[in-house]
C-alpha cells in the first residue's frame, strides 16, 4: 500500500446565494487503497479538529449504486475512471503530488446547496411526471408468461441501470438532461408493462424537463462518457423517437 500527498483545490460556498471560491488544502498522507470520499473524510476530520467548517459533499451507499455522490474532478464528473462513481474511485488512480480541482456539478437546473452539494430534486420532478407504471400489473408473473426477447430485456435493463446521479447534466455543456430522461423513457418503453402510458409519459416527462430549465441536447456525447453506468446515447435517440411518435401519432397532446 502506497502513501500519496495531494493538493486539493475545493469549491467552497456557504449557501445557495453566497459567492463561492476555490480554497486550497494539502491532503496530508493518503493511502492509495482509500476511496475518493474516504480521502475527503480524512480531510474533513482534520478540518473539524482545527475548527474549520468541513467540506460538504453528498454520499450514501458508497457502493456505486445509489447515485448520491458525485463531484467534478479536474473537469470530469465522477473523476477520470470510466464507468465509476466518485465513491468507487480509488486513490491508486492518482499520483503523488497531483493537484485535484474538485467542483460541484454545475447547471442552471441543479441549484447549489453548499460546497459540493447540489439539489438534484428536478430529476425527481421529472420522474413524478411519468417515470413509473401506474396500471396494476398483478402479482409476480410466471417466468416467460409475457414473452420479451432477451435482447429487448437487456436493452431495458441497460437503461434501468441509470442511478440518477446527474453526471450527464454536469458533463453536458448545455446542461441537458436528455441522457437521464432517455434512460427512464427507454426502460419503460421497451417493456410490455410500460405500453399503456407510453405516449403520455414521453410528452409529460419532456415537458417537465423543459420547464425545469435543462438545456437542449447538442449530440456532443459528453454525457455518455461521464455516465458511471455507461448509459448509451442510443437512449437519447429512442427518446427522440418516442417523443416524435407520441407527438405526431398518438392522440395525447
Amino acid at each position: 500500500m502506497n502513501i500519496i500527498h495531494l493538493t486539493l483545490k475545493i469549491w467552497r460556498q456557504t449557501g445557495p446565494e453566497s459567492k463561492g471560491s476555490f480554497k486550497t488544502y494539502e491532503s496530508g498522507p493518503i493511502t492509495t487503497a482509500m476511496s475518493f470520499l474516504e480521502m475527503l473524510d480524512v480531510l474533513n476530520e482534520r478540518l473539524i479538529l482545527s475548527g474549520e467548517e468541513p467540506v460538504a459533499f453528498d454520499h450514501d451507499c458508497r457502493e456505486g449504486i445509489c447515485g448520491m455522490c458525485g463531484s467534478v474532478i479536474n473537469g470530469t464528473p465522477h473523476g477520470p475512471e470510466k464507468k465509476t462513481t466518485l465513491c468507487q474511485l480509488h486513490m491508486r488512480h492518482f499520483k503523488d503530488g497531483d493537484t485535484l480541482v474538485i467542483e460541484p456539478f454545475r447547471s442552471r437546473a441543479f441549484k447549489l446547496v453548499k460546497d459540493l452539494i447540489v439539489d438534484r430534486s428536478p430529476f425527481d420532478a421529472i420522474i413524478a411526471e411519468g417515470g413509473y407504471v401506474s396500471v396494476n400489473t398483478g402479482g409476480t408473473p410466471d417466468a416467460n408468461a409475457i414473452p420479451i426477447p432477451t435482447f429487448t430485456a437487456e436493452q431495458a435493463l441497460d437503461a434501468a441501470e441509470c442511478i440518477g446521479c446527474g453526471a450527464c447534466v454536469a458533463a453536458c455543456p448545455n446542461g441537458s438532461a436528455m441522457l437521464f430522461v432517455g434512460a427512464k423513457i427507454s426502460h419503460l418503453a421497451l417493456l410490455p408493462q410500460g405500453q399503456p402510458e407510453r405516449s403520455k409519459r414521453a410528452l409529460a416527462m419532456v415537458k417537465k424537463m423543459d420547464e425545469l430549465g435543462f438545456g437542449n441536447c447538442g449530440n456532443e456525447k459528453y454525457c455518455e462518457k461521464a455516465c458511471p453506468k455507461g448509459i448509451s446515447i442510443s437512449n437519447i435517440a429512442r427518446l427522440n423517437r418516442e417523443f416524435m411518435k407520441a407527438a405526431f401519432c398518438s392522440v395525447e397532446e
Binding site: G75, S107, G175, D210, G215, S234, R238, N240
Partner: protein, 214 residues
Amino acid sequence: MSWILTVLSSSIGKKYIMAVSGACLSFFLLAHLIGNSVSFWGKEAYNSYASHLHSLGFLIYILEILLLLLFLVHIVMGITLFIENLSARPNRYAVKEKERNWSASTMPYTGILILLFLVVHLVNFHFITKTVSTAELVKTTLSNPLIASFYLLSLSGLTLHASHGFWSLFQSLGINHQKYNKLLQLGGLAMAVIIGTTFILIPLLIVTTDSFLQ
C-alpha cells in the same frame, strides 16, 4: 392545431427543426457542389452551366425564396438554441474536460462563420451587376488573396460544421441503430470531407494555378 406549436417549441421539437432544415441545406450543398464542379471542365462548361441555371427564370426565384426560408429557419433556431444553452449552464468549470468533441462544441461558432461567409458570398456573386461572364467573375473575385483566404477559412468551418451535423441530424430524428451507426458516423464524416474539400479546391486552384478557369 396548437399542439404542433407545443411540440415544435419543446427542446426536442427545436432539434427536429434543426435536423430537418439541416438535412435540406445538405441537399442544397450537394447540388451547389455538383454545379461548382463543372468548373473543373473549364471556362466554357462553367459559363454554359451558369447560363442554363439562370435560364430557369421564374423557377430559380421560387427556389431562392425556399432556400432563404430554410437558411432563416436554421439560423434563427440555431441562435435560439445557442442562447438557451448558454443560460442552461451559467457557471463554467474551472478545469475544462480534456477530451473535447471539437466539431460538436464549435457548432454555434462555425455556424456564425458560415453566416458571415454567406453574406460575403452573396455580395460577391449575387448582389452584383454582372458585366463579365460568371467564370471571369469567379476568377477575378477569388484572385484577391484576402477574399480567397476568407473562403478557405469559412469552407473549412463548413466542413467541421457538417462533420458533426450530418451524423447529428440522424440522431436528433431518432435514427440510431446498431446495424447502421457505423455507416451513419463514417458516412457523415466522409460526406463532410468530400463536400468540404471539393468546395475548397475552387478558391485553392484559382490562387495556385493560372490556367484554372482561363
